[in-house]
């Protein structure tokens, strides 16, 4: 969706954490991205490289952990794996699903110097 702004958000967090946790260079960034977050992983990688240029994360490696989307089916009363928001329950075909994971957009950890 909107990877340039998201990468700017990542860089902001890196910069404020650099001050708080006393590091000057970021070598690797681990992100958790839900498969239903709307984030395009390839676009994210591209934007990341552009945005971090000449920053403390210049040349940093981006590791993306994809979090599968899961939902609670009210009819089956159990957790099922889904691909999209408009998917039906793969077991019973109901649309009465509550998404429980897969919307994540988080920085998890960093390798720094």
């Amino acid at each position: 969706m909107h990877e340039m702004s998201l990468c700017e958000g990542v860089l902001q967090i890196l910069e404020s954490e650099a001050k708080r946790q006393h590091f000057t260079k970021v070598k690797t960034v681990w992100l958790e991205i839900g498969t239903m977050s709307g984030v395009d992983i390839e676009a994210m990688r591209f934007c990341f490289d552009v945005i971090v240029r000449h920053s403390l994360a210049d040349g940093a490696r981006l590791e993306i952990i994809e979090v599968p989307a899961q939902a609670w089916c009210l009819d089956c009363a159990q957790t099922v794996t889904v691909q999209q928001r408009y998917d039906a329950c793969p077991q019973c075909g109901s649309y009465q699903l509550q998404v429980t994971s897969g919307e994540e957009m988080r920085i998890k950890e960093l390798e720094v110097e």
Partner: protein, 278 residues
């Protein structure tokens, strides 16, 4: 956009003026927010790095990428709540009829309900001018290259927009069905406007937006006789991505269905204020 504070200074303009932090109510200017704009950190370290001289270490972060926006949104929400103001974030693709719906709404409610409008567009103040022509105060934010409003910009707008206790703040977002879904502005509800000329499958093509909205306004229903638009299918798609979405049929130009929308607005106000309502 400034990658130091991300506030887009120099690109984002409010009423033609660059967005400035000194305007923000109640926000502590963090050190990285002090706008000296000397982007001088790290560069030497990044390039002149002697291998083996430094030890890498792991740092746990566990932070939402949009965490900063969400903090600004929370402050806006609190500011609005203190004044019993109902804020609505109107989202849609370009040209669905947001500004027309707004001018028609303002004309009908003027003198009954205090109202104000924030207009977001990449360029021009056309929409704010159309709003002001009704006599209601409006503030134009130009996002430049940005394709959505964020909570930080809206916080700046609240600074200078006259808006009365118990009123309604309409925020017309940039016409875009994609990223405004992810940016909380501090509103009570997102209202998605879909016009019947856009095709009935928009809710499943852009599910995030229809999932994030509490109300869908199906606009331009006066055109239905001329189109092949399956209303029932459209509603079914919208409920697939958001089982609890409310749906209204409106024609902003003919006035059809406007009562339902005005009633909805009044219900939302009653839900959040104990000030005397007309």
């Amino acid at each position: 956009m400034c990658t130091v504070c991300g506030c887009g200074e120099g690109e984002v303009k409010i009423e033609g003026q660059p967005q400035r932090h000194t305007l923000i109510r109640g926000l502590q200017p963090a050190p990285e927010h002090s706008h000296g704009h000397t982007h001088d950190y790290g560069q030497g370290a990044a390039h002149a790095h002697a291998p083996g001289m430094t030890q890498s270490r792991m740092v746990q972060i566990e932070q939402d990428i949009l965490g900063k926006n969400n903090q600004y949104a929370a402050q806006n929400r609190q500011w609005l709540a203190e004044r019993s103001i109902l804020a609505l974030n109107l989202v849609s693709s370009p040209g669905s009829g947001k500004t027309t719906l707004l001018t028609e709404t303002l004309t009908r409610l003027q003198g009954i309900v205090p109202m104000a409008v924030v207009e977001g567009d990449q360029q021009t103040s056309n929409d704010a001018d159309r709003i002001r022509a009704t006599g209601v105060p409006a503030l134009q934010i130009n996002t430049g290259k940005g394709c959505h409003l964020d909570a930080h910009m809206v916080g700046h707008a609240l600074e200078s927009l006259p808006i009365e206790q118990g009123g309604i703040l309409f925020i017309e977002n940039v016409g875009n069905l994609v990223c405004p879904a992810a940016f909380d502005l501090g509103e009570a509800h997102k209202v998605v406007i879909l016009s019947v000329t856009e095709g009935e499958d928009k809710p499943i093509k852009y599910p995030d937006m229809f999932h994030a909205a509490d109300l869908m306004i199906l606009n331009k229903v006066d055109l239905l006789p001329y189109l092949r638009f399956d209303v029932a299918k459209c509603e079914e798609y919208a409920r697939r991505v958001n089982p609890s979405i409310q749906i209204l049929h409106v024609s902003a130009t003919s006035g059809e269905g406007m009562e339902g929308w005005l009633d909805w607005l009044q219900q939302q106000r009653l839900g959040r204020t104990d000030t005397i309502l007309p």
